[in-house]
């Protein structure tokens, strides 16, 4: 029963004879009895080889088709070979010997294929598959041939270099300018840094309170193990506050707690020094408060720092001491450090702003130049086109038309204008 053509594994090749008249001149001359010169002998050899090759190819094609027909006659199923117009070399697995030729020259050579290989069939003896080729290479002196990954790996150091340099050389964009402006206008959040925070509680007092709280917590932890139901923190912290207040009171009343230096000098000046001589064995240098406890408190002078302030003010008003326009808090080391840092911050901020502004101006200018350059490129393009038109016209031995000339002149003049502008802009920066 007839086989459908689409299932037919035959290639039904179109065959023909090489047209020697068109392709083999020396051979043709010989056929026409024109003889051959000795110089043409080599060329004749090559022509004969080509002729031979074409006949062999034809012969191979016939043999392939015949082998398929023989199989069909035996009733074997022959799959339709996948014929691809041979640009790629197919690698077959196993024992399918296939004659595939790589068409790398771009000519229209198509592929011959012979399918399935019963060992008895002639074509299978031609072990053409490229894979089988490899072992043939196994000469003892050499290993199997190296196969690098095609294409050979490109040296991309140049690409990396340009990518790196790009950061420095690329054009300024509008976004960059906006960023700079933002940076200049933003430092309002620094204002926090410039405030002098009010003096907090003195650290001794704070630490004392914290220590007390810690001890209470520990005590609670131990106590919790024994009895539950102790009230929560708030009451305990109240307790600690009360304890601390007592301590404070003691501290205040005890003149060992700091009296400002001015106060001390004043008192030392006013009170006689006799006290020291008689009391030194017994009291040491504990200070005045020891001999007369409660005296200072009874004077109602208030805390040491406020006393210090009042004395200073009084002395200044009396003209005894020069008015110190400096902030009386200067003696505080921390505050002075704070002020120092703040002035430093101010200086650095100002510097930053100056630099950013300078950068911003440069960026704006370069943006202008960038635009000019772009326009220059366009102008160049126009000039080149005009040139081409004129050159083409000239080539055809025609004089270029007035219109073309005008276009060319205009293009040139425009370009000059832009170049001058660009020069001006560049000079301003230098």
């Amino acid at each position: 029963d007839p086989m459908d053509l689409k299932d037919c594994p035959l290639g039904l090749p179109v065959v023909g004879s090489l047209d020697h008249a068109r392709s083999l001149p020396r051979y043709t001359a010989l056929v026409n009895n024109e003889g051959v010169s000795m110089e043409e002998l080599d060329g004749l050899q090559l022509e004969l080889e080509l002729l031979l090759s074409s006949v062999l190819v034809r012969q191979m094609a016939f043999n392939n088709q015949l082998s398929i027909i023989y199989q069909l006659e035996k009733g074997k199923y022959v799959p339709k070979p996948a014929v691809s117009p041979g640009k790629k070399m197919k690698r077959e697995e196993g024992d399918r010997p296939s004659k595939k030729m790589k068409d790398s020259s771009g000519k229209s050579r198509e592929v011959l294929s012979s399918p399935g290989p019963p060992p008895g069939v002639k074509p299978s003896k031609v072990k053409c598959s490229v894979q089988k080729y490899e072992p043939v290479f196994d000469v003892p002196d050499l290993g199997p041939p190296e196969q690098p990954k095609p294409p050979p790996p490109k040296n991309d150091i140049t690409n990396r270099f340009w990518a790196y340099v790009e950061q420095y050389c690329q054009e300024i964009t509008v976004e960059d300018i906006k960023m700079l402006e933002d940076m200049i206008n933003s430092p309002s959040e620094d204002s926090d840094y410039f405030k002098t925070p009010p003096l907090g509680r003195h650290y001794t007092l704070r630490w004392a309170q914290e220590d007390l709280q810690d001890e209470q917590k520990e005590g609670m932890k131990l106590a919790e193990g024994k009895k539950k139901g102790i009230k929560g923190d708030p009451s305990n912290s109240d307790l600690s506050d009360k304890l601390l207040k007592e301590v404070d009171m003691n501290g205040c009343s005890d003149d060992v707690a700091p009296l400002g230096p001015l106060t001390q000098r004043l008192i030392a000046g006013l009170v006689e020094e006799n006290v020291l001589v008689s009391d030194i064995e017994n009291k040491g240098v504990d200070g005045l408060g020891h001999t007369r406890p409660g005296m200072i408190k009874s004077l109602g002078l208030g805390s040491a720092s406020s006393l210090e302030k009042r004395i200073k003010k009084e002395l200044q008003e009396q003209g005894v001491m020069e008015t110190d326009y400096g902030n009386e808090d200067d003696e505080d080391e921390i505050l002075s450090e704070l002020r120092r840092c703040q002035s430093e911050l101010r200086a650095v901020s100002a510097h930053n702003v100056t630099q950013l502004t300078r950068l911003l101006n440069l960026a704006r200018e370069s943006l202008v130049r960038h635009d000019l350059k772009k326009r220059l490129r366009d102008a160049d393009q126009k000039v080149v086109e005009a040139y081409r038109t004129i050159a083409a016209a000239r080539q055809k031995k025609k004089t270029p038309s007035k219109k073309d000339k005008d276009i060319a002149w205009k293009a040139l003049k425009d370009r000059e204008v832009i170049v001058r502008q660009l020069d001006l802009a560049s000079n301003n920066n230098c």
């Binding site: 007839p2 086989m3 459908d4 053509l5 689409k6 037919c8 290639g11 039904l12 179109v14 065959v15 023909g16 004879s17 090489l18 020697h20 392709s23 010989l30 003889g35 110089e39 002998l41 080599d42 050899q45 090559l46 004969l48 080889e49 080509l50 002729l51 031979l52 090759s53 006949v55 062999l56 034809r58 012969q59 016939f62 088709q65 015949l66 027909i69 006659e73 014929v83 030729m101 790398s104 020259s105 000519k107 229209s108 050579r109 002639k122 074509p123 003896k125 072990k127 053409c128 490229v130 080729y133 043939v136 000469v139 003892p140 002196d141 041939p145 196969q147 095609p150 050979p152 040296n155």
Partner: protein, 325 residues
Amino acid sequence: MRGSESSPSFRRDQVLRLDPLPPISVTPYPLSTSTEMAMAMSSEAQALQDRVKVLSDLVRELQKARDDNIPHMNSINALSDKIVNEEKLTVSNRTKLKMMYEKAVGDAEKEVALVKKALATVYQIRNIRHELRIQAKNSGNKETIRRGALMKMLLNCAQTLPLWIGNTGEKPPPLCGAVPPEQNYVAKVNDMVACLVRGSEGEDNWILAEVVSYNTTTNKYEVDDIDEEQKERHTLSRRRVYPLPLMRANPEVNPEALYPKGSIVMALYPQTTCFYKAVINRLPTLTTEEYEVLFEDPTYADGFSPPLMVAQRYVIQIKEVSKKK
């Protein structure tokens, strides 16, 4: 008469080449006029003419056979067209086709035999001329070959290297194209080889040379640098000598005897007599074509030279010689 266009659903094999083929140009073998004249006047000149006559006759016989075969090929094409138009293959058509194919194979074999004879005659003529040339040189015509002439000689030699033609199914032998030589192969006197020699500055180079002799006791070759200006005769161990192929492989029939694309080889750098490491970029598709290779060259950005053409004769397997202590 060619076959008609294939029906869109059925794809037909293409066997015919591009028509016309690219023109063949051969670098002529450089002979000085004096040598030519000496050859023309030699007593052997008559033998040449005889051979040319034989060749002429063979070619005409060949062409007659080819002309006779054309009607048969046309009927094959006609039957194929019919089958394509009917869109089915009947058993009777298949049998007809089979008989036609079988006859065509026989016709082709006849053509092949005649072409081979013609080619053989061409080789005979060439051999006679070769003898004449040597005679002319020995009879006082001693000229050293200038570099330009040397290069032309090398090109001509590569182009006219005999093509290997096997019978159906025969495998290409050693030293045909890329097929390596046998293990114990020894190059013959006057064969061309590539050999690794140490230069004056201690660098090793693979150069083109001609075999002078082989010493079986020491297992060493004596070779002459092909560049006569060097006038150097080297004595080298077998490891440092690699024979060049003796025959070209036919890309249409024996593509397995070609170096595959992407493989690393040693190739003769054009216009020089030295071999360098290269990578195969394109294979020849016709017997007359050359390999396209990329030479390893650190002076280029990507490490390789632009593609250069090298004939089959001057492409050999890469050989790393282990250095003896």
